[in-house]
């Protein structure tokens, strides 16, 4: 076992160790272990970044005759970038949860879920074997199921968890089939061997792979589980949306992008662009704060997916990282706001997640407000934020790409970004600047370090310096230096366009009340729920009912007839037994009894009678002897 194997295993196993310790020690173990995890990841990041470009290490997991399945890790530049991001965000989410979940029961279960989630994601990021990848992939699904359904007493939380689980299972089935077919094609599960073979996947497998990641990354036809997943606790949403789960699909596509066939890449671009636009459109009509953010995530994931499709995984990676920080920040910020508002609301009936009820004066919650503002600006792509640079990178790649769909994608990015500015502004304005509502007391309680520390840390990570020192040059530090030039008109254009748009949208929303009649189609997220209900749930129920009636009518009927026949037969047997077998026995004893009765008449019990009979016999005997 090499040194690096132990190091990488440590990364993946530390959260599991934390889970075990959490069972005994309970308090603060979870975030302590993620803190160590974060430090180890930073160390790994530095060492690997200094010395090597990739690590490939393995251990034989189990053997099937001559064929052995290996537990191997394959860490390349993408994984190295993602490991610290995942662990930092996980750490901050754990810290935030201490404050946010302070009044909840079963905290141990909650933190175990978070640690399990983190562990699965880290394993997924490091995994270098399709089997291990699938294992981690399923662990992610399970962890999301457990955490989305954390509030067990809420019915809708259970349904949301179930929906996430079922939609993901549908995709996972295709992914598993794709993995098996890939093995048939490459004769290996090893990711590095597969990628190094330079052979493009067959079309069919590529498309199965594409469909396999749709649900996990919340892409167009299977995206509706993500808004429902908002019933889980806010820190969980932050973790799902930023560091784990939804980026898993994009990440898998990034890893496999060298071997994807062209048609699948085009498919990725199309689906991603479509998802980006539809998600952004749906976000403009939502009332639930967290659902706005959920649709925003869907739209940003669409952009990443499409970036993979135009053969620019680096752009997808960069946007994934910058998005991870500001989206985690947004969810934590909104979570903090919800937490504060719940303490200060006038009566218990007010739903603090509905922006129609909000209107919290921003001066009462300055830290929350300013951090949320920074994250929102990053989401909008305002200059001097990380979001601006990653979007710049996306646009440049789309513009420079030779791909036939890249212009189409370019237009979609601009459209999506425009709508993103609109819904983000709407969120900010109605949440903080709506003064007409008297739903909340002004008492402030936000200066808790467990809330402030993660928010401030994430807002620091939402500025341009995490990508490049030059706020207008989107070349990421850690990417291999390519000839990367943004057209000057593009930089100037987006520098001017987005802030102006932001300003105009702010003016527009600030001057009018929230519209109470949203577009129903967009509010329902394109009625995907109904569609899936009609296409899958109802036929399944129909088939189920069909089988039920068949079972009731035929199988149960047969069983009933059998039971009746058995009982009838038993009655006949019992009748025969009583009258034939027992009757014979009874007849025998009755005959003996009767015969005995006849004989017994003479046995009266009187001594003198016996004597009489004796004498009588004796006389008869004498007579017989004499004559």
């Amino acid at each position: 076992m090499s040194q690096s194997f132990i190091l990488v295993s440590l990364i993946c196993c530390l959260p599991f160790a934390g889970m075990l310790m959490n069972l005994w020690l309970r308090k603060y173990v979870a975030y302590t272990s993620t803190f160590f995890l974060f430090i180890i990841n930073i160390l790994v990041f530095y060492f690997i970044n200094q010395h090597e470009t990739q690590i490939e290490t393995s251990l034989i997991w189990f053997k099937l005759q001559s064929f052995s399945i290996e537990l191997n890790y394959y860490i390349n530049r993408d994984s190295i970038l993602l490991l610290p991001v995942v662990s930092i965000i996980s750490f901050l989410v754990h810290v935030f949860s201490i404050g946010y979940m302070a009044y909840e029961k079963s905290l141990s279960r909650y933190f175990n879920g978070l640690l399990f989630f983190t562990a699965s994601m880290l394993l997924f990021v490091c995994a270098g074997n399709l089997i291990v990848i699938f294992l981690a992939w399923e662990c992610l699904g399970l962890a999301s199921y457990l955490l989305i359904g954390f509030y067990r007493e809420k019915t809708e939380a259970g349904f949301a968890a179930l929906k996430a689980m079922l939609l993901n299972r549908f995709s996972d089935l295709l992914l598993l089939s794709a993995i098996i077919l890939m093995f048939a094609y490459y004769q290996s599960f090893n990711l590095k061997e597969i990628i190094d073979s330079q052979q493009t996947l067959p079309q069919l497998v590529g498309w199965m792979l594409l469909l396999g990641v749709l649900a996990k990354s919340a892409q167009f036809p299977l995206m509706n589980w993500l808004p429902s997943a908002m019933t889980g606790p806010s820190p969980v949403s932050a973790l799902i949306h930023a560091a784990t789960m939804v980026i898993a699909g994009v990440y898998l596509m990034i890893r496999l992008s060298p071997i994807l066939p062209l048609s699948v890449l085009h498919g990725l671009t199309t689906i991603g662009s479509l998802t980006a636009l539809l998600g952004a459109l749906a976000a403009t009509q939502q009332f639930d704060v967290k659902k706005i953010l959920a649709y925003s995530t869907i739209s940003q994931l669409g952009l990443m997916m499409a970036a993979v499709g135009i053969a620019s995984p680096q752009a997808a990676m960069l946007h994934m990282i910058s998005h991870a920080f500001f989206k985690a920040g947004l969810f934590l910020g909104v979570g903090a706001l919800i937490h504060h508002l719940e303490e200060n609301r006038v009566n218990k009936e007010i739903n603090v997640q509905d922006i129609r009820n909000l209107g919290a004066p921003y001066k009462s919650y300055p830290y929350t407000f300013y951090t949320i503002l920074i994250f929102s600006l990053a989401l909008c792509g305002i200059p001097f934020t990380s979001g601006f640079l990653s979007k710049e990178y996306l646009l440049t790649q789309a513009w420079n790409s030779k791909n036939s769909l890249s212009i189409f994608y370019f237009v979609f990015i601009i459209l999506t970004s425009t709508i993103t500015v609109i819904y983000t502004t709407r969120l900010i304005v109605y949440t903080f600047f709506n003064k007409s509502k008297e739903n909340f007391n002004s008492a402030s309680s936000e200066k808790k370090p467990v809330f402030l520390f993660p928010l401030i840390a994430l807002s620091i990570a939402s500025f341009w310096w995490i990508i490049n020192f030059n706020p207008f040059h989107a070349d990421f530090y850690f990417f291999s230096k390519t000839t990367f030039t943004t057209p000057v008109w593009l930089t100037i254009g987006s520098t001017l366009f987005f802030p102006v748009l932001f300003f105009l949208a702010f003016r527009y929303f600030n001057s009018r009340d929230i519209s109470n009649s949203p577009n129903q189609l967009l509010l329902q997220g394109f009625a995907l729920d109904n569609l899936q209900q009609k296409l899958f749930v109802q036929p399944t129920l129909f088939i189920g009912n069909l089988f039920l009636s068949i079972e009731k009518k035929w199988i149960d009927g047969f069983i009933h007839v059998m039971a009746f026949a058995t009982v009838l037969f038993s009655h006949i047997i019992s009748f025969l037994d009583y009258w034939l077998v027992d009757g014979l026995v009874r007849m025998t004893y009755k005959a003996s009894y009767t015969l005995g009765g006849w004989v017994r008449v003479s046995r009266s019990g009187y001594v003198q009678h016996y004597l009489f009979w004796f004498l009588f016999t004796a006389v008869l005997f004498i007579i017989w002897v004499l004559f």
Binding site: R600, V607, Q608, L611, L615
Partner: protein, 102 residues
């Protein structure tokens, strides 16, 4: 003396004794009946000794038997006393242990 009368007498005694044994309700009378039958036998011994006038075996045996009969009667009475103690009665018809219990 013609022994024929003796034999007749013995027959009458046996008949009377048998009748007593079979019909009386009390054990005492049954015992008396048995004694009568026994004495009928004794009478027979005396009667048939007439066929052999040269000896008196019959008479002698009768004397012995009478002595033994006394003992036997004593035994019988002793048994009767035990029966009376056991069953509080000496009526055979109310002692029916030989028969199945009704």
């Amino acid at each position: 003396m013609n022994p024929t009368y003796l034999i007749y007498t013995a027959i009458v005694l046996v008949a009377i004794g048998t009748a007593l044994v079979l019909t009386r309700k009390s054990l005492l009378f049954i015992l008396i009946g048995i004694e009568l039958i026994l004495n009928a036998v004794n009478l027979n011994l005396v009667a048939f000794n007439h066929l052999y006038p040269q000896n008196v075996n019959g008479q002698t045996t009768t004397l012995f038997i009478m002595a033994i009969a006394i003992c036997e009667t004593a035994c019988g009475i002793a048994i009767m006393i035990q029966v009376a103690r056991q069953y509080k009665t000496i009526t055979p018809s109310s002692i029916q242990d030989l028969k199945e219990q009704a």
